[in-house]
């Protein structure tokens, strides 16, 4: 084993130890050049606790260091320990998390069966992926969610704003206006049925123009812009605290063009998914990714008899880890269905839904589609 790999191993270890910071941790595990470490040890600084609360000037004097070196030492100290003293201060008990989850409001899809499948709707603090064939209604669902996220809290809605990141140009405002009108109608009806005066008041305050203004829209033209937007997502959510939903329609399109280097693509995608998960967790935002589907050839190449083809979500195997929940939309018996394919907490299942002029609604209300027949 050569010295290079040893060094790499040692620094890996340091990183691990650094993440659990403890006042009794030895200074030898800090990420510092060996000369600095030995100077610290030589002047009596043995543990991280010894370095606590000391100023750079003081340290430079006591350990006979250059001022820059002293600053470097202080910088290398684990931040958590200097702030609270306990590494686990940010930890929560499972019960607390349960309480928080119970207090969360889901984003309704406006379709009863769909909401039942998702136990109330799209979950905040999670990344949900929606995939399906072209024309199945992925964009419609994305638009519907960005409207229904605005349902007032008096009607147990999320009462938030939405950010719609459009990479494909399939977002049509005229369709959105239709959906907003349908949503307003249904919300007012629900408020009237609830017989609660505050709900009725909240519903009467809603207006079409305001609902539209609560949807922030970005059009993204290539993958560089897409990554840039996702990198600035955290800032955006901090500035717009009412944003409860981010829809990316679709996450796929720009990553299916022009990538000769698949390893690079995978890396970029992984980085993106990490960022998205962080943002959803930190900012309490539901993230909905819309994905396309692609054909996967099974079986040996060239073997015509045994090879079969399957329709699978695009972006490959590793991308399936990028989302917490995955919904697959598909056609069955002339009707649209949603299949909950992946979820950490819910049972897999199916639910019918339909796309009406008002938006996504229950399949029961929809009429049968007339089919033109030429062979009469």
């Amino acid at each position: 084993m050569d010295s290079g790999s040893m060094g790499a191993k040692a620094s890996d270890k340091t990183a691990v130890v650094n993440s659990y910071s403890h006042p009794r941790m030895e200074v030898t595990v800090l990420k510092l050049p060996p000369t600095l470490r030995s100077k610290l040890l030589g002047s009596g600084f043995r543990t991280v606790g010894d370095l606590k609360g000391i100023s750079a000037v003081q340290l430079a004097r006591d350990a006979q260091l250059m001022h820059e070196e002293a600053l470097q030492v202080l910088k290398s100290l684990p931040r958590v320990s200097s702030a609270s003293g306990s590494a686990l201060a940010g930890a929560q008990t499972a019960f607390e998390i349960l309480q928080q989850e119970r207090a969360q409001t889901m984003i309704s899809t406006m379709c009863e069966e769909f909401d039942t499948l998702l136990a109330g709707g799209i979950c905040p603090k999670a990344v949900t992926e929606i995939c399906g064939m072209p024309g199945i209604g992925k964009t419609q669902l994305g638009m519907q969610l960005s409207v229904s996220v605005q349902t007032p809290s008096e009607l147990s809605g999320a009462d938030g704003e939405a950010l719609y990141i459009d990479t494909e140009g399939s977002f049509m405002v005229e369709r959105l206006v239709e959906m907003v009108n349908g949503w307003l109608e249904d919300v007012r009806q629900a408020a009237a049925c609830s017989k609660k005066p505050e709900a009725e008041r909240a519903a009467s305050r809603l207006s079409r123009d305001e609902a539209l203004a609560n949807i922030h829209y970005v059009r993204v033209h290539d993958h560089t812009e897409q990554i840039a937007v996702i990198n600035t997502l955290d800032n955006f959510c901090r500035e717009h605290r009412r944003v409860r939903l981010v829809v990316i329609d679709s996450v796929t399109f720009h990553f299916r063009q022009d990538f000769q280097d698949m390893a690079l693509r995978t890396r970029l995608l992984n980085e993106m998914s990490m960022k998205l998960m962080n943002v959803s967790e930190m900012r309490n935002v539901a993230i909905v990714l819309i994905n396309q589907v692609t054909v996967k050839k099974m079986g040996a190449v060239g073997d015509k008899r045994n090879s079969a083809a399957m329709i699978v979500p695009a972006l490959g195997e590793s991308w399936s880890h990028a989302c917490t929940n995955r919904l697959v939309l598909f056609w069955m018996d002339d009707g649209r269905y949603a299949h909950l394919y992946k979820s950490p907490s819910l049972k897999a299942g199916m639910a019918p839904f339909s796309v009406t002029s008002k938006g996504i609604r229950s399949a029961r209300e929809s009429r049968k589609r007339p089919h033109p027949d030429y062979n009469e």
């Binding site: 064939m133 072209p134 024309g135 964009t139 140009g169 399939s170 977002f171 049509m172 405002v173 005229e174 369709r175 959105l176 206006v177 079409r208 123009d209 539209l212 203004a213 609560n214 949807i215 922030h216 829209y217 970005v218 059009r219 993204v220 033209h221 290539d222 993958h223 560089t224 812009e225 990554i227 840039a228 937007v229 990198n231 600035t232 679709s250 796929t252 399109f253 299916r256 063009q257 022009d258 990538f259 000769q260 690079l264 970029l268 980085e271 692609t294 054909v295 079986g299 015509k304 008899r305 083809a309 329709i311 695009a314 002339d334 002029s357 589609r369 089919h371 033109p372 030429y374 062979n375």
Partner: protein, 452 residues
């Protein structure tokens, strides 16, 4: 960033993207990605000329588009158009400002069916068997886009890229000389279509520039006629675009004149390989700036047909198929970028292939059975068909319309004795349209919808 100038990506948006990347402190990954993106590295494309060697149909585009890359960038830097992209900065929507414009089809019934016409800013595909009137539709659109804003048009020129056979110049001339103005229908479905008035131009940049110093040439080599500057001015003051009299030849004294102007506003380009198409699209940007020396800005792109390009060029091997998919996605990306930046409609046509029963068991593909869009199956002339170019291409387009023919040999009689073939336009998928269908016939003056 070297790649941005090669690709002709506007410097503004690109630098904004990089700025945002650096601001958030992750320049590394994406930086490498954009250089990796570079220009397409197939040896064929590196040497591919921007324009096809002179072929059938000729090209009026050459003058306007064939501007060197250097000029292109110069134009970009000094242009302060309203088309300037401001991505990365989310904007709040409003119904009045953001409802996408539509370009009329030239027939009120079809317009009502499509809720105003072909939407701007997205890619619309027509799919159908041969003789299902795809080209007729395209020719009509190439003319209808020139209609003034007040008539539902875009007040601009169209670029017609043809890839199979020759350009049907005679038919274009015929439609141009007989095209009638669509009368407005008060349709409840079209309520979201914004009312346009000539007093409030939607695109201020579309104001016609002063008459060109050199008279433009007619788009076709068949008729190298010079259009007088006076006609151009007249065209703008008093639209003589639509035929005011009946549809029969000879009745309208100005038919000839009108057809000449209308045809000279259709730029025709023959493209024969996918790489040619890609490089043309990448250099197309300059044609859209309202400052070109041509009288009208380019306001529509038509490709007839996209399938012909991609069905002939590639073998049925895995490597070639993945190459095909890659170029398809790049073409789609380029088209969408142009459509969205300049807010113009893009219209493509696609072919169909026959659906073969039981293909799933034998040919290793059960995908022909996979349902795409509103129709559980596509039926034309009594045959079951599927759209060409596969699933990957499907996810590249925004709207797909299916044109089909009936099996009946007689057709229907509308006025007089002539019988017309019954055809149907169906919405396969579209973000803004319900799954409806509409019957139409092809007349001398173009497509005409039938009230069901």
């Amino acid at each position: 960033m070297a790649s941005s100038s090669v690709q002709g990506i506007p410097t503004t948006s690109k630098s904004a993207a990089t700025a945002a990347l650096h601001a958030t402190g992750s320049g590394g990954g994406p930086g490498t990605s954009s250089s990796a993106q570079g220009i397409h590295t197939r040896s064929k494309s590196a040497a591919a000329p921007v324009h096809a060697p002179a072929s059938a149909g000729g090209s009026g585009l050459r003058n306007s588009v064939c501007i060197s890359a250097k000029n292109n960038i110069k134009q970009l830097l000094c242009s302060s158009d309203s088309n300037e992209v401001t991505t990365l900065k989310p904007r709040r929507l409003s119904a009045a400002a953001d409802t996408s414009r539509k370009c009329t089809v030239g027939c009120p019934i079809l317009d009502a069916h499509l809720r105003g016409g072909i939407p701007c800013g997205s890619v619309t595909e027509l799919v159908g068997e041969s003789t299902s009137a795809k080209t007729q539709f395209c020719l009509q659109m190439a003319l209808a886009v020139q209609a003034p804003l007040s008539d539902g048009g875009m007040g601009g020129r169209s670029l017609y890229i043809f890839t199979e056979g020759y350009f049907p110049m005679k038919r274009l001339w015929q439609i141009a000389s007989t095209l009638r103005k669509p009368t407005r229908v008060d349709d409840k479905n079209a309520m979201n279509c914004p009312q346009r008035s000539p007093a409030s131009p939607v695109f201020p940049s579309q104001r016609p520039p002063p008459p060109p110093p050199c008279p433009p040439q007619c788009a076709t080599n068949g008729m190298q006629t010079t259009v007088c500057a006076t006609f151009q001015q007249q065209y703008w003051r008093e639209p003589l675009f639509w035929s005011t009299v009946g549809s029969r030849r000879g009745e309208d004294p100005r038919a000839e004149e009108r057809a000449r102007i209308a045809c000279s506003n259709v730029l025709v380009e023959g493209i024969h390989t996918p790489d040619e198409l890609l490089s043309l699209l990448r250099h197309l940007r300059s044609a859209f700036s309202g400052r070109s020396r041509r009288p009208l800005p380019l306001r529509m792109i038509i490709i007839d047909s996209i399938a012909a390009l991609f069905r002939s060029e590639f073998d049925n091997t895995i490597l070639d198929m993945s190459n095909r998919a890659s170029i398809l996605f790049q073409v789609a990306g380029e088209l969408k970028r142009i459509a969205s930046e300049f807010q113009i409609p893009v219209l493509l046509t696609n072919q169909v292939t026959d659906y073969i029963e039981g293909e799933g068991a034998e040919g290793g593909s059960s995908l022909a059975e996979a349902r795409i869009g509103n129709l559980s199956y596509m039926l034309t002339s009594g045959r079951r068909v599927v759209a060409a170019l596969g699933l990957a291409w499907c996810s590249c387009i925004t709207t797909r319309l299916f044109l089909s023919r009936s099996t009946s040999a007689f057709g229907i009689t509308l006025d007089g004795s002539q019988a017309y073939m019954r055809r149907r336009m169906q919405v396969v998928f579209a973000p803004h349209l319900p799954p409806t269908s509409c019957e139409f016939v092809v007349e001398r003056c173009g497509l005409r919808g039938l009230v069901s």
